[in-house]
Symmetry: C2
Subunit: 450 residues, 2 copies
């Protein structure tokens, strides 16, 4: 019986395990899970900390019992300590510090990422947290309950920073976001980030841009004093450091598996690493970008699921290939949804592509029907060829912003021109769209302006 | 100066006019409009009659003044009486019965469709209406205001029947729908139509299926008695006959322009008719179906806008081709949205394609986040090849149903397989989707079941 061993019980690992079992009911699948929370939705943590999700167990994409019912063995609270590719073994340590050596025919690494902890003096003081795993989540929840802080400062204005700003505002804390860049949410253009900042401000969140945090000091009253560039000082009762993630690949590197960008594991389109019989997927690997035709580091849950499914399929003899990422992302910030896909002008410039962007303010549905809301669609295309490069949308929650970015994503996947977007037979009814969908109206506007 | 004459001031005609002027500021464009309502949103009429749209003028996609500001001459309340292709002239009659002959270099026919009026005795009695144009709308509105009927019967359970059932319920009338078929909304599968019927029933609309209306008689109390097959009788105070549309092409036919299916004008992919210098677009033409590789009669506003834009472009020397329809449609019925695209099993069978469909009940977003709603997605694919053929979705208003059908539509446009749907980099955030979007979850379920 073939033995498939998987290190990592989050999205990539569990997706791989399930896909392998789905295709080959004879394969023996074991997943080594560092904590007690296999396949938990990391993206859901802010909604648990906000109080919107009642029980932490609700965050599981799939329950452990369901995973086990699919014939998958979960080794919870086991840490993989060493991979020996020559003997095809992995050494694991359990909570009693007992070491066990497991043999594999095929190994999949889904070790994920860890929070980046920047070089800030005092970052280890009590009341300062990073946030990525369930352990972090419970630490934060306990602190919120025990210490009842009235204020929190988020260092970092990315996706998790945005979601946590909303979550902790909702929980009644006074929230400050400190971000080094000129706006928040730097995955969209700066001026669009400014709109997100305005939404935060409108909801009472203080946003400070252009400040690099240098030190955090503990005050006599138990509060924390943050010091940053440009003489920035700020007193707060709690700090979350949410400045991004880096691949967790020390295990892979020590096993001689080639790594690349930011230390992420190098994989080919079949999700094979440079070492025979070892696949890797998810936040620990370099990800192929379909438009840039290059590897990037782009850790996303959607990508982890896709890559995990492919690794799982190929591990049992399949022939799937990862088609590449477009960097499609969406986030809800209070009443707004911000979504993006593909390349923007800055990305295009960096890639040497002559791009042009056009903005269109457009109603989500016929304005005569109640509840119409304007959204901003920024379309980016290649000037010379008219090829669609990317899109960014900011609109209201409920205005089908996120699935409209997906129409762009589907078009990008197929290398469509902006003109050809007009050929798509998209749905229309007055309460939900226009005879030309906003996607197409923004395409026509790009064509007029370019 | 080139003279472009357009007969018909609805979606196709106005789209053609605007596109021609956009590309060629020197072209002289005249649009012959039978009524006083150029470019009104026919699809919006139910929302005017429901009372949700305050002023009828709000229904205009574009205001007459804006159209004229684009350099387009509108001949309102002019009826085109005759087309003479040999002399390139059109004779029009104004409200004073004055005849004028207009010359053209290029003519575009956008004459649209008329309501089908079935062979029912008594169908001309007062209180019985068809509904397609603004004139019909005002007749109905006047009747509702003057006669204050407490009940209405809709003959026909298609899109307009569904929308009017909701609209007139909202207005306080007791509504009955009489439909010949076994369910309503026969553009989706019968069992899905039954779900729509249940939604109508839940909102107090009485739905009668399997009855062909044969006669309507006027009672002594001014009420109308409807008689149908299977000994059906029903007394009502008002009747709307909404059983579909047929192309309005007598003008074209008398000019020797070849017509085909249901009398619709034959066009090629450039929207040229069989007569030189004459294009046609919209509800008066046969429409190319991208999946069936055949012409159909499929009158839709989305299609009219597309075909009009292409006809307008080509009329001033462009080289655009219509890429074909997928039959994408959506409709809101009370709290539900029903959307469809492509081929279903019945269509596939008729086309000799070996199809298989799988149903998936799936949450619109992560169930741990408040407000999650289940939607039903039925995916249809070709068994032998795994090629996507079509999809139907029923879900709640606000659950991004309509733009999810558009992801399927974009995939169909490119001939994707159902397996390849998993490669699409679609957006995810817990309040709006899952790491695998419902579209992909339903694809995976199809693959498992097939």
């Amino acid at each position: 019986m073939k033995r498939l061993l998987i290190i990592g019980g989050s999205d990539a690992g569990i997706s791989a395990a399930l896909r392998a079992r789905e295709l080959d009911p004879d394969v023996q699948v074991t997943v080594i899970v560092a904590d007690r929370y296999p396949n938990y939705s990391i993206c859901g943590i802010p909604y648990y900390l906000s109080g919107e999700v009642q029980a932490a167990t609700d965050l599981a994409h799939r329950k452990a019992a369901d995973i086990e019912a699919a014939g998958i063995q979960l080794l919870l609270e086991h840490k993989a300590e060493q991979v020996d590719a020559s003997s095809r073994t992995v050494t694991v340590r359990d909570t009693k510090q007992q070491l066990t050596t497991l043999e594999y025919d095929t190994l999949i690494l889904g070790t994920g990422a860890v929070s980046v902890c920047p070089d800030i003096s005092g970052v280890d003081l009590p009341g300062i947290f990073t946030l990525r795993w369930m352990g972090d989540t419970f630490d934060i929840e306990r602190y919120l309950k025990d210490k009842k802080p009235r204020s929190v400062t988020l260092i970092g204005g990315g996706y998790i920073g945005m979601e946590m700003a909303e979550a902790l505002s909702r929980r009644g804390l006074s929230v400050t976001v400190v971000e080094y860049a000129d706006s928040v949410l730097t995955t969209v253009d700066t001026d669009l980030g400014q709109r997100v900042k305005a939404e935060l401000t409108r909801h009472g969140v203080q946003v400070v841009n252009g400040v690099g945090v240098q030190a955090i000091e503990s005050g006599s009253d138990g509060r924390l004093e943050i010091k940053g560039s440009n003489s920035f000082t700020h007193v707060t009762e709690m700090v979350l450091v949410v400045v991004g993630a880096r691949p967790m690949t020390n295990l892979a590197a020590s096993a001689g598996i080639p790594t690349g960008l930011r230390g992420a594991i190098k994989v080919n389109s079949s999700m094979e690493t440079g070492v025979p019989h070892i696949y890797a997927a998810g936040d620990c690997v370099e990800t192929w970008h379909r438009l840039l035709n290059a590897y990037t580091y782009l850790p996303l849950g959607t990508t982890s699921h896709k890559q995990g499914r492919i690794a799982g399929e190929n591990a049992v003899g399949g022939k799937q290939e990862y088609a590449g990422s477009l960097g499609t992302q969406s986030v809800k910030v209070f009443d707004l949804v911000i979504a993006r896909t593909g390349l923007h002008d800055a990305d295009a410039k960096q890639a040497g592509i002559d791009s042009f962007s056009a903005d269109t303010e457009v109603w989500d549905h016929k304005v005569y029907y109640p509840g119409a809301r304007k959204m901003l669609i920024r379309v980016t295309g290649e000037q010379r060829t008219g090829r669609l490069l990317g899109a960014q949308i900011i609109g209201h929650y409920g205005a089908e912003v996120s699935k409209r970015i997906d129409i762009f994503a589907a078009a990008l996947f197929h290398g469509m021109t902006i003109e050809a977007l007009n050929d798509l037979d998209l749905s229309y009814t007055p309460p939900l769209s226009s005879p030309w969908d906003p996607v197409q109206i923004s395409a026509q506007n790009w064509l007029q302006q370019c």
